[in-house]
Symmetry: C2
Subunit: 800 residues, 2 copies
């Protein structure tokens, strides 16, 4: 320990008694939730029928959480703090539920569970019980923004919550199990990105209770001097509170919290004095107390308190083993419930007076119900950023680069409620226009020549998808907006985090008092088809498949084919609520197809026939060429042109899909196109050659119940790739224009014989392209030789 | 810097000159690969036609990699070290390729690329060129076990390679970009799990070149004192080498490498002296040199060397901009190629003499071609671990618990080539029998009461799926075997790592000199249907979907229905090569169905009809009940029993699927069942009610091209869940026996009217079960009331 805080005794005897009583009450209520079906106040001797038939819950971490919660309540009142609590050991659900019930918030949210004896019985019964509440600190728990079922994200969530909330103190408990995860280990240095002048504070509390499910924890077993150096290395000032004597730990923790909060106040005062902002040494606390503290010391001869055996349910056979039952009763009565709850079962006045009031209660802090404080973004009119598309195919412009101008102005117009996140890929993904109006958040050292670094930057760049995701989730969950842009392949790094956020969104749709959040928006660029530099390791379009497994009411996937449609799509996403929006768009110069008014109409519909590229003239076509994604759209249009040149009598319909979910029936997804409309567009019986951005079978899945799915033939990415040219990539995966023409010839009845020559020509052309590429290292010039349909039939263009 | 190593000058003038020449040669070859299509030795003035049409590659990190490689070569020779090199900044592909060519390994592996002028031209041309080699340190590069396209795993791979290779020194370069990732940050403390007596050494080299693609790096900008404390906190002894004067850096790096290797030798000597093994303070190196060192200082007026602008191709317009061309020529000639390569283009003798010989070359170390040193496991006969199954449904036994006995003996029989990995879930997943013969690897402190911790433990437990995966990959890639067991939901945490490993396996199938590796085996337990404790956050069966997107020749998925079939499956997996095997199995007590001989037959077939549970007596059934996964199998058998009781005339065929890939046609997967066999089993036209463990549409996908897929009706997980009872979980997702009966009634033509009463009875029973569960907190006893089919018709059992 760096200082002699453990010798201080800031609590008066009265304060000590009160905070200890509060802690005992929370511990009692925690154990009650895990075990009791009835007899909540032990007014009768404990009997087997009072015990739940299935004992589920996690005791081990709970007394530590209760201790911290009680002490934080003390300092919140003393300092009138605006604080919230993040429970990294989220399986300590009963502890946090207990505290919210003591604070009154639980009853306010769930009036059926009163702060009295029958309410306490309901509180106990509902926990980890069918039809009740989950065992973790789930979305049902007031004050929680963090489930904690999957470990690793507590600290990044905490920082995300603190950004742009200058008065907020986020107390973040990190279990020593969670601390072993990569994402958590990578989160400590978030303090390089926290501006003490305009952001709030994060107070990390590393809870070393020493054990995981079955193992000691690493950080509890390295030398304490190493641990202190580690925390100092991360840029923190660590304070250790250790012990197993409650009275001493109460005093040490109180002194340490006072010290830490004094330092936070000092840091903020200095940073807000007008001087240049520098990265301060923020305080953090290491709390070393026994796992399962105050629980059974031994069970059946084996030590339990202070060991991994207290992780879940220390006494497992309470219904059948009278010794266990007696031990449970001793344990519960040891908290002296008769001193804690009055005759009605309500907490005694002394307990009621300890926590803060109203919104100052951590469980009632409005930012923890982010939707309740969410304000709409001020969005510049995206139409003003349109590029002029005089005719389909012109001009060449990268979609994300065009979007960048709008994003820049979104940032400027919403200086406190919107941030752009990315793993060092903002410029690479062509959103660099943002740097016209803001910098990258950076509070560490700078050197001459640095570009666009600023403590006030609105762009968050760190080479960690986990941090980007965790920060953004924390930011959204506390009522703000954001966009995460990443290379398409590497967004898989956060697959599991997306799972958890999707689950949160799904569950909170069913919790009346939780207001909708801003959507989690992904802009995926540097996609599978254009990894010219990076090759196979950077090629994976499977994130779409991953999110499509989530609940339909939560996920949306868009693949706008060009710049104007990307603008329209992103505007929609930033206005939407409580979704996960996945937008995939290219960054490389590419042809543009749609005027802004066409783009608006097309993206609103989500899919549609492009008349100007079709030759069916409104009649039933011989074949439907469908496409989804910018590169497949280009190849499909080129294929349509080849067909038009070589088989002018063939009636081709070209359909472009932006909103992937439109392909599903309405019974499967709210965006689903009605069957009748689907059949009108895709026909009931003609071959459909579908060129898709990602893994082909997803299209089969989405259209599985459609009338014509038996005639659907999908091309897409089939895991073939390397460092090569853009056209070689589509050839490797049989998505190229020449192969699409071959597919048409092979699929349209009667065409094979008639078009045998063309088919061979396509085969030869592919080979020639491949040979050229292998020899010259660039794409065969002939792939740029095709004409736009509109050149031959300008009148076909809608609106022309 | 802790010591005055920067004042030492261990290199003689001659040594200094030679190591510098080697470095210059590697740098020259690096730049040549990025830029030159021809004129490799600059025998003519450089002209635009000598330049590649598309400039792809990463220069920035390369000079640092070349520096380290050259210096490591020096110490390998001096100490006769057994060393390998892991290139965390894997996009520095041309640097490592250059070194392998200098060492001769490239030419040995690819005789078409000789160590002469024409070979050099081919070397240059092939790099990042269509038909050539990828730009990263890919599988094509001799000595590489680590592609490095996706950042974060260098250090965990390094530790994985070092385990059980006592003589190996793994030099692991970590870029300061990669160091920001969570997985890398979580890897440093791997030293808690490295036994200096029986494992090799890892020498981490943190290369601070200061910049990522577009940003400074965090670790380069925190105070150096913090960085040193951070490394000490992780348990290392850091040594800093910093500078931009080559001569001084050469001396400092040489002195530091000598010091570090001396310390490693000391540590190993002490640990191997017979005394108790303690966690030593391993050395690590911080190398702070400019990004793009020795490249262009400025381009078009902007600083390049030492900035993010040197990340990829510093001179971008060499073909079109004469000033860029001239600058490139100056840059290349600055390395004085005429001193480095002789008239034939071969490296001069002085260069050839610097690197080690034969297998001592890092690029030729046999362990880096793991398959070449892989030996078969000694596998105890799994049949000896069978449980006796006197009749289907008995006894109740958890599958993984039975497997645990066999795993225990696999560990004991292969004390140097097999490890079991898991994120603190080995005991939870019921594989605790392993601890009868071994401990958990642990080199940190222990306290009384600790169980099964040992520096020699063969079980690797850390609360990080990333570390488990990275260690195991490193272990497999260097020629050993292992199993990773995890909770099913959280294996998504390593989705992206699995992607990269699958890509490695796919690519290396096409590289003749790469020998097949042991398969990457997942045993997923604590699965979606039995998260009684943990609820919704722990429920996700989507990892199967994720891996099925990978190349069919690489992935295998098994869902054995009981203990004996799990034994047979795991034996198969541990004998297999170069696959990703995903095995999903339950840990909870559950009925067992198959005797060992039946299990062997069934798992070999991969799927099959269970005659003893069918009532079609070999004739064409009215309905097929298919099932895959232990819980769906139980519910399907119960449904079959209900149908038998209530609709005895209905001909039901029960099919169980173990090997999911059997469902695909042979054209899609090598395990695919021929269409004719498939139709024989699943019929051509009868309804199939398929109860599946995971997301239902995967079954649709796999059977998409089968004759009868239009009659397929799949039940599975549809993202409904919470903390509840096992039977309530299947009810929430409509996978329960009662609902399966309803599905049969609704699907079999003509049954709806005949069985209306039964249908209503099923609806009522479901409601009653739900009500009971909500009231009593446990499953309705009636779900245990069904009978096994064999009780009524014992003769039906095959082999009876």
């Amino acid at each position: 320990m760096d200082t002699a805080l453990d010798l201080q005794e800031p609590l008066t005897d009265d304060e000590l008694r009160r905070v200890d009583a509060y802690w005992r009450a929370a511990n009692y209520l925690t154990v009650g939730q895990i075990y009791l079906l009835d007899n909540p106040l032990l007014r009768q001797p404990l009997a087997p029928e009072h015990i739940k038939p299935r004992l589920l819950g996690h005791w081990g971490t709970s007394p530590g959480l209760n201790l911290l919660y009680a002490h934080l309540n003390r300092v919140i009142v003393a300092r009138d703090l605006n604080a919230m609590f993040i429970t990294g050991p989220g399986h300590g659900g009963p502890a946090i539920v207990a505290n919210t019930w003591l604070e009154g918030t639980w009853t306010e949210r769930y009036p059926g569970v009163g702060r009295d004896e029958s309410g306490m019985a309901r509180l106990f019964r509902q926990f980890s019980f069918p039809g009740g509440i989950p065992s973790h600190v789930a979305a049902e728990v007031p004050g929680s923004i963090h489930e904690g079922g999957e470990l690793g994200y507590a600290l990044s969530h905490a920082y995300g919550a603190a950004f742009d909330h200058p008065d907020l103190v986020v107390a973040c408990v990190i279990g020593d199990g969670e601390a072993e995860t990569g994402p958590l280990a990578g989160s400590w240095l978030s303090n390089v990105f926290l501006n003490p002048a305009r952001d709030g504070a994060v107070l990390p509390i590393l809870h070393l209770n020493g054990f995981k499910i079955a193992n000691p924890t690493v950080l509890a077993r390295i030398p304490e001097q190493d641990l202190l150096e580690l925390m100092r290395g991360y840029g923190y000032q660590p304070y250790v509170v250790a012990g197993d004597d409650p009275a001493r730990v109460h005093q040490a923790l109180a002194a340490t919290l006072d010290r830490a909060l004094d330092e936070i106040a000092d840091i903020q005062r200095r940073a807000r004095s007008g001087d240049a902002v520098e990265r301060p040494r923020w305080p953090m606390i290491i709390l070393r107390t026994p796992k399962g503290w105050t629980g059974p010391r031994e069970v059946d001869g084996a030590p339990v308190e202070g060991t991994f055996r207290s992780h879940q349910v220390p006494l497992a056979e309470v219904r059948s083993n009278p010794a266990h039952l007696a031990e449970l009763e001793r344990w519960l009565r040891g908290y002296r419930p008769e001193e804690l709850f009055d005759a009605t079962g309500s907490p005694v006045e002394e307990l009621l007076s300890l926590p803060p009031r109203g919104d100052r209660r951590m469980s009632a802090n409005p930012v923890t119900n982010g939707g309740s404080v969410l304000r709409d973004l001020t969005l510049p009119d995206f139409r003003d950023y349109a590029i002029d598309v005089p005719r389909p195919g012109e001009p060449m412009a990268g979609a994300t680069g065009v979007l960048g101008g709008w994003i820049r102005d979104v940032i400027a117009a919403n200086p406190e409620t919107f941030r752009l996140f990315g793993p060092d890929e903002i410029a690479s993904n062509r959103l660099g226009a943002a740097f016209d109006v803001t910098g990258r958040t950076w509070v560490a050292a700078t050197v001459p020549g640095d570009e666009h670094l600023s403590p006030d930057g609105r762009v968050m760049e760190v080479l960690s998808e986990h941090l980007c995701q965790g920060w953004l989730e924390g930011y959204l969950l506390t009522g703000r907006h954001g966009v995460f842009t990443s290379y398409e392949a590497f967004i898989h790094i956060v697959d599991s985090m997306v799972n958890q956020h999707a689950k949160w969104l799904k569950v909170t749709r069913g919790i009346g008092w939780r207001q909708p959040l801003a959507s989690l928006n992904y802009l995926l660029s540097s996609h599978v088809w254009r990894q010219d530099h990076n090759g196979f390791s950077h090629q994976d379009p499977g994130f779409i498949d991953h999110v499509v497994n989530k609940k339909a009411e939560v996920v949306r996937v868009y693949l706008p084919p060009d710049a104007n449609s990307l603008l329209s799509t992103m505007d929609h996403c930033l206005r939407s609520r409580h979704y996960i929006n996945v937008v995939v768009a290219g960054k490389q110069p590419a042809p543009n197809w749609l005027t802004m008014s066409e783009a608006i109409q097309h993206t609103r519909r989500g899919l549609g026939i492009w008349d100007w590229a079709s030759t069916d003239a409104g009649s039933e076509p011989d074949v439907v060429l469908a496409c989804c994604g910018d590169v497949p759209t280009l190849e499909t249009l080129a294929a349509a042109d080849l067909l038009r040149q070589h088989l002018p009598e063939l009636k081709v319909r070209l359909v472009n899909v932006v909103d992937l979910m439109r392909l599903q029936p309405p019974s499967e997804h709210p965006h689903g196109l009605p069957d009748k409309e689907f059949d009108t567009i895709f026909t009931a019986d003609r071959p459909i050659i579908f060129a898709y951005h990602g893994y082909p079978w997803l299209i089969h899945r989405l259209t599985y119940r459609r009338t014509n799915h038996g005639n659907l033939h999908v091309r897409g990415y089939k895991e073939e790739g390397t460092t090569t040219t853009p056209f070689d990539m589509v050839m490797l995966n049989d998505l190229d224009r020449f192969h699409l023409v071959i597919d048409v010839i092979d699929r349209v009845p009667g065409l094979a014989a008639r078009a045998a020559h063309l088919r061979q020509h396509m085969v030869d052309t592919r080979q020639a392209c491949r040979d050229y590429t292998r020899q010259y290292g660039e794409d065969d010039p002939r792939v740029a030789e095709w004409r736009w349909v509109r050149e031959t039939e300008p009148g076909l263009r809608s609106g022309a």
